[in-house]
């Protein structure tokens, strides 16, 4: 049983694990498609996993993307996500156990109260509780007001691309490859909006570092 006991891959570096989460209608799947295609463009083996159907009718949406030299499981084990992108802050909490302690969290402070809250049966956690909870897992919490910025730019639907911009900056990537992939994925008439949204997201990370 010499090496069947090892759980460390011996052949390659472990993959980069990215988890995207949001509420149905926020563009979580589109964002994960972009992340996956960027991975392919960068020459990685890529797996992207998501669930369709009933679980999406206004419910939480989770998509997982892994980039690596060779990727096996499409599902990321809890505690092993390197980058968690949350398009809604309650969903950030819901997916938090996936994040590696000390991992990078990009979260939109936007709140979409679930029906359990609007019906008065449950309470939406307040910001102090959310921040305390996030801080217990990682100091690297990047609050990116994607919805606010996208509304300023004229269309709240571009919020997901603001967060992708922030993500690309955290990875230290130049914008070009990302914008090329976005160009292939969005209708031409929305490209200018998306490019501005993407660059605003990058600027926020750059400002953070100054």
């Amino acid at each position: 049983m010499k090496n069947a006991t090892s759980s460390q891959p011996t052949t390659s570096l472990p993959p980069l694990n990215i988890l995207l989460t949001g509420v149905g209608g926020q563009g979580t799947i589109l964002a994960s498609n972009i992340v996956a295609e960027v991975g392919v463009a960068l020459g990685y083996d890529v797996k992207k996993a998501e669930v369709h159907g009933m679980s999406q009718r206004g419910g939480s949406v989770v998509s997982q993307v892994r980039w690596g030299r060779q990727v096996f499981s499409p599902i990321i084990p809890p505690g092993e996500v390197d980058f968690l992108l949350a398009f809604e802050k309650l969903e950030a909490l819901r997916a938090l156990h996936y994040l590696r302690p000390g991992g990078q969290l990009i979260v939109d402070p936007h709140a979409i109260p679930p029906v359990t809250v609007t019906s008065g049966d449950a309470h939406y956690p307040d910001d102090d509780a959310i921040q305390a909870k996030l801080a217990r897992v990682t100091p690297h919490v990047h609050w990116i007001p994607g919805v606010t910025i996208a509304e300023e730019l004229g269309n709240a639907k571009a919020a997901n691309v603001v967060l992708l911009g922030a993500f690309s900056a955290l990875l230290g990537h130049a914008p070009d490859q990302w914008l090329d992939v976005i160009r292939q994925r969005v209708p031409p008439k929305y490209m200018e909006l998306n490019e501005r949204a993407f660059r605003r997201g990058r600027e926020l990370i750059q400002t953070e570092r100054e």
Partner: protein, 629 residues
């Protein structure tokens, strides 16, 4: 060229490259995108059939006629198609026939969890299982060759994580030339007319075919040994192969691309080359039972009857955390001390270790409000369920978005089993003499699927069932597929738009009305009247799904007049995500007033219609207000 494709897209590409000319199916998660992708290729015919049984008959018919054919469905669709599945296994076909069964371990979008590899064994046909999208494409092509070589239908068994995971695939733009394999439609009753005398002769043939397939499996290129360290050997297939590589990177692996019938000699040889042999598979101990039956020693040697699956859970989908914890619990891996972090408590002996994804969710100390799926804002089903809840009648439900009528506060559905079950189950209660009058609720696509014979039965055997057909002009749950009521085919052709009311009348039911689904007052009045009468009655609540483009263009956000609202809570009871409790309290009763989220509201007016104080504006009032402002 490599492209990122989902498993479903990869199957469609494989089918096209393999020269498939006819494909048929019925939408069902996680299978739907196979046919949607295939339908866009040139020189192919693809259709949504009313149900899976019809779809499979169509594919069999095309394959009898010498054309390669594909049938796609979710796992429970194979139940519907089982009759056709079994005779096709008996007759074989002239050209290749492949049936895709897309199983849904963990039931992300299904009513039950079943391992359809058992169906392949049941019918004595081969079962192929891809482990990623490249595999899905390659095995699809291999399946057609296998089908023709052995004159057998082939099952391509997918699971949610294969269907909906995207991985890079080498895409070949070339299509195999596949002219019809026959010049003339076969006149071969001994093979194709399954009267008892012929069927009795066919049965031994398919048993011999199974022996030939088992022999072929020994050299099938997709059954592959990967020798690494000999201390541990793993027999695996499908998505479980990926978990095996992830968690046991040094183990030797026998990856089975064909999980029925098994390559006995290959398995025995592999067993002889490793110190300890295990099987890693999702759901049933399908491979494991067969391997033990061969007399091959697996680790652990003893299993408990009737749960003969060792080490890994028999329920729910696997994932790396569950595989690791199960292996630790069984003593295959040392405890890494991180078991509790992943939250699972699997043990080798337990038949029901974890509802996967459930215990793994949740976040310890902070109690998070759930975000369950709900009927969308503007959903035309909402009003009907609000009325049914109010009338307190027993409701037998069906499969579709409208199954969400069970969720509070609507709480209006009391049974849901399978496609088309609502009407038969309601009829059963009626003929059993249940004191309450039953209401069956079924969607338009589900009515076309299996509701029609059940309603015919209500008419023929004269029961007191009230049937409500929720006609939203589409197959909404699976993503707006066309159906016989939409006037469009899968490939975008204009076609006859089947009208439900004349169809219901033709079945022999006289008491039929069609009402706009947003007209809650009229629906309530009609149902109240019918509840006092006897005999079958059908209400067609018709309004297009609020997510369809033509409906989206009509969105107008309604408004609450805070001076008229007194917080009575009636509008909260329709369970609309666009209606919020505001921070403002009614001065007299100190109850929160209603508020409407303008980004979510579509202006369906159901809330305005149920408001007893006329505190919610109707569409024309909103337009008027804004015009004056």
């Amino acid at each position: 060229m490599k492209r990122l494709l989902s498993g479903n897209e990869a199957v469609a590409h494989g089918a096209w490259e393999a020269g498939v000319s006819v494909a048929a199916g019925y939408p069902g998660t996680p299978s739907t995108e196979i046919l949607e992708t295939f339908a866009r290729f040139p020189h192919v015919y693809a259709e949504w059939a009313p149900n899976e049984k019809v779809a499979l008959d169509v594919a069999i018919g095309a394959a009898y006629a010498g054309r390669r054919a594909l049938a796609t469905m979710k796992h429970v669709g194979v139940n519907v198609a089982a009759d056709a599945f079994m005779y096709a296994a008996m007759t074989g076909t002239e050209a290749g026939l492949v049936i895709v069964s897309a199983d849904d371990p963990s039931m992300h979008s299904s009513q039950n969890e079943q391992d359809n590899r058992q169906f392949a064994k049941f019918a004595r046909i081969p079962c192929l299982e891809p482990a990623d999208s490249q595999d899905a494409k390659d095995l699809t092509i291999a399946a057609f060759d296998l089908s023709e070589q052995f004159d057998t239908p082939v099952m391509l068994r997918m699971t949610t994580r294969i269907c909906h995971t995207s991985t890079p695939v080498e895409v070949d733009a070339r299509r195999q030339e596949h002219p019809p394999l026959i010049d003339k439609y076969p006149r071969n009753p001994a093979k194709y007319v399954m009267v008892p005398a012929n069927a009795r002769k066919r049965h031994p043939i398919i048993e011999h075919r199974l022996e030939d397939l088992a022999a072929f499996a020994e050299s099938f290129a997709f059954n592959r040994v990967e020798m690494r360290d000999r201390a541990l050997g793993i027999i695996t297939g499908g998505v479980a192969y990926q978990y095996a590589r992830e968690i046991f990177p040094d183990a030797s692996i026998l990856k089975l691309g064909m999980t029925y019938p098994l390559p006995q000699k290959l398995i025995r040889d592999f067993a002889g080359r490793v110190d300890r042999l295990i099987v890693l598979e999702e759901l049933d101990p399908f491979i494991e039972d067969q391997v033990r039956l061969m007399g091959v020693t697996l680790w652990p040697e003893q299993v408990a009857y009737p749960h003969t699956k060792s080490i890994f859970p028999i329920t729910g989908e696997l994932n790396p955390a569950i595989v690791r914890q199960s292996a630790q619990a069984a003593g295959l891996l040392p405890d890494a001390g991180d078991a509790e972090e992943a939250g699972a408590s699997a043990t080798a002996a337990s038949p029901q270790p974890l509802p996967a994804g459930q215990k793994i969710r949740g976040n310890g100390d902070l109690d998070l409000p759930a975000r369950p799926p709900v009927l969308c804002p503007g959903c035309p089903h909402r009003g009907v369920f609000y009325i049914l809840h109010k009338l307190k009648v027993p409701v037998n439900g069906d499969i579709g978005c409208y199954t969400l009528g069970v969720v509070p506060p609507l709480s209006a559905i009391h049974t849901t089993g399978c496609m088309g079950a609502s009407i038969g189950v309601a009829h059963g209660a009626a003929v059993a003499g249940d004191k309450e009058r039953h209401v069956a609720v079924i969607g338009d696509s589900t009515f076309f699927h299996t509701g029609i014979p059940a309603l015919l039965n209500v008419a023929y055997n004269r029961s007191n069932v009230i049937t409500i057909i929720l006609d939203n002009r589409t197959t909404a749950m699976t993503g707006h597929q066309a159906n016989p009521g939409t006037g469009k085919t899968l490939q975008g052709q204009e076609t006859t738009e089947i009208e439900i009311e004349p169809l219901v009348r033709a079945l022999g039911i006289d008491q039929v009305v069609t009402i706009d689904a947003y007209e809650v007052e009229a629906i309530e009045k009609t149902l109240k009247q019918w509840l006092k009468q006897d005999g079958p009655a059908v209400l067609i609540a018709k309004h297009a799904c609020a997510l369809l483009p033509q409906e989206r263009r009509k969105y107008v956000a309604l408004e609450v007049d805070p001076n008229a609202c007194n917080g009575c809570t009636i509008c909260f009871r329709i369970g609309c995500p666009a209606i919020l409790k505001s921070d403002q309290l009614d001065p007299k009763y100190h109850r929160p007033l209603a508020e409407i989220d303008p980004l979510l509201c579509t202006g369906c007016e159901i809330c305005a219609r149920v408001c007893p104080r006329d505190a919610i504006s109707f569409r024309d009032q909103v337009v008027h207000l804004h015009f004056e402002a």
